[in-house]
Every structure is written in C-alpha cells, then in structure tokens.
Subunit: 426 residues, 2 copies
C-alpha cells in the first residue's frame, strides 16, 4: 500500500517530480512488450482480490468521513465499495488485459517508387493525467487503460475517495512490480491539496493529455484552465429527431430507451425534436408514453396543444442537460430546422434521427458534425464498450486526435518507420 499520505508543502516541486518520473517511466513502457503489460494488469487484478479487506477498510474510512461531511446519498453510493463492486473492478482489469493491444500495430504500410518502405506504427501517447471525482473504481480503470496503451499515468482522484483510491492504487503497484515494470508507470498524487490539480493543468512538458472524469464543474474548469490538451466532453445535450418518415414503432421504442434506461448518463436523450407532419400521430404518442413512464416532458406551444398534460418549455429548456427524468420537446417544420436546432443547442456529443427515409438520414449525417450520429438507435449506446472498443476512459467531443468513446487505441500516437537500401533523394 502507498504509505505516503496527505502531503502538503511544496506542491509545484512535488508535481514536477511526479512528472519527471512519469516521463522516465513512459520511455521504458514505450518498448515494454504487450504480454508484460497484460501480465501487470492480471497481477493487479489478483492483488485487488488479495487486498480486498484492506481496500474495504480504506473505503469504510472514506464513507465515514463522507457521512460526516454530509455527502448526498447519491454521492455516498458512488463512493461505496463492497465485495461485488471489487469483483467488478478486478473483472474490468482482466478485461482490459485481454483486449487487443494497440501499441506497435501497423496502421498503414506502403512502398514508394523511390524504394522507400513506409510503415505508420502506433506508439503510446506518453504521459496521461487523469483528474476524477468520487468513484474509486476510476483509479483502476483509468490506470489500467493507460497502461494498456503503453502510457504512464498520473492519477488525481477526488478527496472523498482518497483512502479507497490509495488502497486500489497499491494493488496496481503490486501488478507493476509483478511484471517488472517501473512503479512510476502508475502514480497517484498523494495529496488532497487542490493546488496539485492547477499544477497538472499547466505541466505541458510532463503530461501529453489530461482526461477529466466527473461533473460539468470539474470538466469546465479543466477545459478553461488547461495548457495541456484535454480529452473530454463538457455536456451530453443529446437530441433525438423524429422525422416525417419515422417508423412509429421504432420512434416509441428508441425514445423511451434513450430517455429512461439510465437518465443520468451522458448519452441519455435530453431533447426531442418532432417533425410537424407526424406531431399529431407519432409525436403525441411518444410524448404520452414518456409521461406514462414518469418523464416530465417540457414541450413547446405547438406540442402542448396536442398533449395538454405536458409541461411548458421555457427558453432555458433548449440546450439543457437534465441528467434526470425530464426531456424537452419541440415541433419543427422540417429536417433542416431540426438540424439548425441541434447545431445551435447541441454539444457535439451524440444526436439521433428516427427515420425510414435514407435521404433524410444522409442529410442528417452530412450536415451535423457531432462525434456520434445515429439512425434508429438509442443514444444510450454512446459508450466505448457498446462500440466494441473495450473499456473507455470517457467520451470526447473535441475534433483533435480522439473523438467519441476514448479507449486504449485513442490513447496512442504513431510514428513513421521508413526503410530503404541506402536510398538517396535526387
């Protein structure tokens, strides 16, 4: 277990040291064989199980402190670990160990008339900084995913989960040692002092990318202040557009799932746009079904004339992420109005069209540039696991480098390897 505890004092100096060690570890990891990295993850899963009592005891300390601090029931639930959740974390480490290794993969290969043989090869990105809130499992998931991609990682967890994260981190270190990899490959910031976060955001020499995991407050802070590139989404203001050519059955099924399956995730639908041609038929059916399912529907005037039980939407309801059993609903005259609404109020995360009309779907796909665009699919599928990428460290809405679900592959870079036979350029 990491015996360093809450350290204060020279935060910038401490963070520089952590950064320097991460950089050195990254240089070693860059050529550590795939099976050695996988072995470290397997060993970490075993250590997690072996250390279960220790981790649960550390978690009990965090839970007691959390209750004392008056954390909400939802926050306490996020923080809580039990045997089942620990098993889940260990299982997730093993799943990441078993995934395809992106590092060293040849992305493209070609020959040139000059005689050059060119390969583009995946390499680790370098050092990843992960800043997260109360869920202690992120310590394991993020640490493992970064290691999978050959990166060193600096983990900065929330203060509520300080002891839990420390105990889980100790198991990850066991795994690194078992595989003879540098312990500095997965470092944890050993202080709750928030100055450490501010420092991380400026460490562009030591950190290649920052991944914030948490609420809008944390992500917004990181996006505003970071001088290091960030993979994140600020909000998931997810739209579902019911086109004139929507199938009634698919519309009903998809919208209900997209809103109610888990209303608190970033892929949950937050706004329903309904073509006026089907508002009176499919539209009102879907709205009534949502209300029956316990969703508060905040509708515009046109839709409230059809479904008077709906609440009235105000101007604040467009572009709003409820993360709750609430949805905004608006009637639009045509697909272009739906596209214009999404461009104006969307967050480039995930947006869907329900239609049987190929031309409408093509128009929607071509004219919107959300990271994920869907047709006749529940937006709750916006997830790396569901995409088949294995675990994800988050979903990104930026246009650079990683977009959509960020898995191990998205945590890599590449280099060109060029061979010849003494080839010179004329």
């Amino acid at each position: 277990m990491n015996r360093r505890d809450d350290i204060s004092g020279n935060i910038p100096g401490m963070m520089q040291e952590i950064g320097t060690r991460a950089r050195a570890a990254a240089a070693e990891l860059a050529f550590a064989p795939s099976e050695v990295r996988a072995q470290a993850l397997e060993a970490a899963a075993a250590a997690l199980e072996r250390r279960a009592q220790e981790i649960l005891a550390a978690n009990a300390r965090d839970m007691a402190a959390g209750r004392e601090k008056g954390l909400s029931a939802a926050m306490l639930d996020r923080l809580m670990l039990d045997d089942e959740r620990l098993q889940g974390i260990a299982g997730s480490l093993r799943a990441i160990a078993g995934q395809d290794d992106p590092v060293g993969r040849i992305m493209a290969e070609w020959k040139r008339p000059s005689g050059l043989h060119i390969r583009r090869v995946r390499t680790p990105l370098g050092v990843v900084g992960v800043i997260y809130e109360s869920r202690p499992n992120v310590t394991a998931d993020a640490g493992a995913l970064c290691l999978k991609a050959g990166n060193a990682v600096i983990l900065r967890g929330g203060s509520e989960s300080f002891h839990s994260s420390g105990a889980i981190h100790a198991a990850l270190l066991d795994g690194l040692r078992a595989a003879n990899l540098p312990e500095d490959a997965i470092q944890r910031v050993p202080t709750r002092d928030r100055a450490a976060v501010a420092e991380m955001l400026r460490m562009s020499d030591h950190i290649d990318v920052i991944v914030p995991r948490g609420g809008k407050g944390l992500v917004g802070l990181v996006q505003r202040e970071a001088r290091v590139p960030v993979f994140a989404h600020l909000e998931g203001i997810v739209h579902v557009y019911l086109d004139a050519a929507a199938s009634p059955e698919k519309a009903l099924r998809v919208v209900l799932n997209a809103k109610t399956r888990r209303p608190g995730i970033c892929g949950a639908a937050e706004c329903l746009l309904i073509h006026e041609g089907i508002a009176d038929s499919i539209g009102q059916g879907v709205i009534r079904a949502l209300i029956d399912a316990g969703v508060e529907v905040r509708a515009d005037k046109a839709l409230r004339q059809l479904v008077p039980e709906a609440a009235a939407a105000g101007p604040d309801d467009w572009g709003r992420e409820y993360l709750d059993m609430i949805i905004a609903a608006r009637q639009v005259p045509d697909i272009d109005a739906a596209i214009a609404h999404i461009r104006r109020y969307g967050s480039d995360h995930t947006d869907a069209i329900i239609t049987e009309d190929d031309a409408a779907a093509e128009r929607f796909f071509a004219r919107l540039d959300s990271a994920i665009l869907m047709r006749n699919v529940s937006t709750q599928f916006a997830d790396g696991g569901e995409f088949g990428m294995g675990a994800e460290i988050g979903i990104a809405t930026g246009k650079m480098h990683a977009r959509g679900p960020v898995g191990a592959e998205q945590l890599t870079s590449f280099k060109y390897v060029v061979t010849g036979e003494g080839t010179t350029r004329p």
Copy 2:
C-alpha cells in the same frame, strides 16, 4: 482582386468577424461534394494563369519594398515570383485537386452483436489558421490543401509578401466563385498589423488548428502563445547514426545526401553519431568525404584524432540545427549511447540509423519516438510528397492528431455514424 488593403483600427473586432465567417463557411464546406472542391482548385489554377501579369506586378511592388528595406538576397529570392514559379504554383493547385479526397472516406466499419452498424467517417477539421512568412506560394498551397480537406482557412502571410499574397488570393477567390463555394472559405487577413497574429493565436472558438510556416522565431512564438492547437515542428535536429554493422557504401551515400543535397531544409542531417567500432574505418571515410564536399565537420576529440582536418565541436554543437553546410560528429561506444544522445538532443523530427543488423534497427525504432525514423535512407526524404501524401502543409513533431508530414488527410477529423433498426440498449 481583394480590394481591401492595409486596414488598421479594431483588429480584435475584425478578426472575430473573419473567424465567424470562416466558421459559417466551414459548415457549408463540410458537405460540399468532392468534385466541387476539386473544381474550385482547377478554376483557381486557371485564374492564376489568367492573372499572371497582375500577380507579377504585385510581386514587383513587394520586391521593390523589400530591396528598400534591405532584405537579404536569400529573402528576396524567397519572395520573388516569375513565370516559371507561377506555373509551379498553378501546377501544385492542380496536383492537389487531383489527389484523393480524404473527406467522407470510411476509415473503419464494423457490426456489433447488439445490431449496431458503426462507421468511422472522415470529416473536415473545421477552420485552419495558417501563419507564414515571406514565400507567397504558401498562400496558394496552404489555401488549396485546407480546401481539399473541406476546411475553411484564414491565411496570414508575411508583410514582405503582402501584395503578392493578395493577388494570389484573388485567384483563389475566383476559383471558389467558379465552383459556387462561399468566398469566406479562403480568407486572407487584410492587414500587416501584427496584432492580428496575436488575435489568431487566441481564437480557439473560431480556429481549430494553427499551422505556422516559417523560421524558428515564428514557430516558437506560435507554440508559446497559442491557445489553439498547433501543427508544427520547431526544429529539425536530424541525427544519422552509423552503427557497428553499417554498410560502408550506404553510409557514405546516405550521409552525403542527407547533409548536402539541400542543407537548408528541415530534413537535412545536423549530427552524425559514429559507433566506435567503425570510427576508424567507415567513420573517418564519411567525415573526409563530407569535408571534401565542402561541409564543415565539427567533431569530438575521438574523431578528430582520426581526422585532424575536422573542426572541434563545442558543447553547443550537440542539439544544434545549422541549416547550412555544417555537421556535428560524435563517436559513441554503442547503439544505446546513440539512442541516449538522440533522446537528449534530438527534436523528434527525423532520425536515421545506417546498419545491416536487423536487431540494431529494431532497437533504434523501438526506443526512439521521433515522428520519422529511418534505416538506410537519406533523411532528406522527410517530406509529404516523398511519402506519397501529395502536397504537405508542413511537418509536425507533436504527438497529438497529426505527426510527421501534414497533408490533406491530417487536416481532417472524424465522426461515428451508427445505424440500427430501432435498436435499444438493455
């Protein structure tokens, strides 16, 4: 022709307006068909030929001002346009028009057991800002490459080429009009005021990436100050390592070409590392050949004992980019010392090994992370054209998004397009 001339006054306001128009143009370009963008480039090439006299007259104004300002002969040469160079620019526009179009290409496509069909599709990046120095041809090359990738571009050329760039820009606008594309797709900052550059570097809402084209002063400024991602390399501190198992003939041929073909380009070799086992044989032969070819070789003590005619290297000669007929030379005890030297002094641009030993080449490739690593190849091949990418806008050494030669494909992003049949998530 763009009739706006040197504007001063409210630079931030003007730049915001340019940025807003670029964003609007980018939204239209995102779904402009491939052939329309190619047509615009063909029409621009024709307009460039049609406007040749006008462009040469504008260039004559710049040249006269340059002479008056006392620009060096080299700078005047970079600035100068004549019929042949104009033909070259037109040819390059046509070559870019003829390249494969990256936009809309399906990068990957797969199905999931859930029924989802997922495609990853290339999209334009959005708005590119290009900041360059005296070469007026960059106006055409950079404008064309951005358009090829479906991006809007904001061009900010050097003040020396102000009129030449304006005249070339006018031809690009002709091309856009001929293809019915928005003129705001290729905008030129209509002022020499340097405040416009400072503004561009902060316009992260309006510009997705900045590409600086020019010397170390410009690139360093952009890298330091930009709040927008940057594709660039600061220096090309290119190393060639002659391994113990180097072929004498390849060593001689590649090193001479890597240094002397064009010593002023970023892929020119700047430092020669020689394994001690072959210093007395291949090493001294290569050094003597360099000296005979007119290169100043600045060697360490060990190598000067073998070749006393070599100059003495000082500590400043390691990690130095001469861009001239000068090369540093150092003897190393083994390949790991060569790798350590490159890690310490290199610039992650291009580094090469000369060896017949596959294991040595593999070690070199695995343990270094330069954007381009070569074996038995002249480093002068570090170029998008030579890589088969068509024109390039520059070479990047960052790890994020684009690395190595940056061509049209590297100026794109992607999105996921997901289709189903009313698919819901359990």
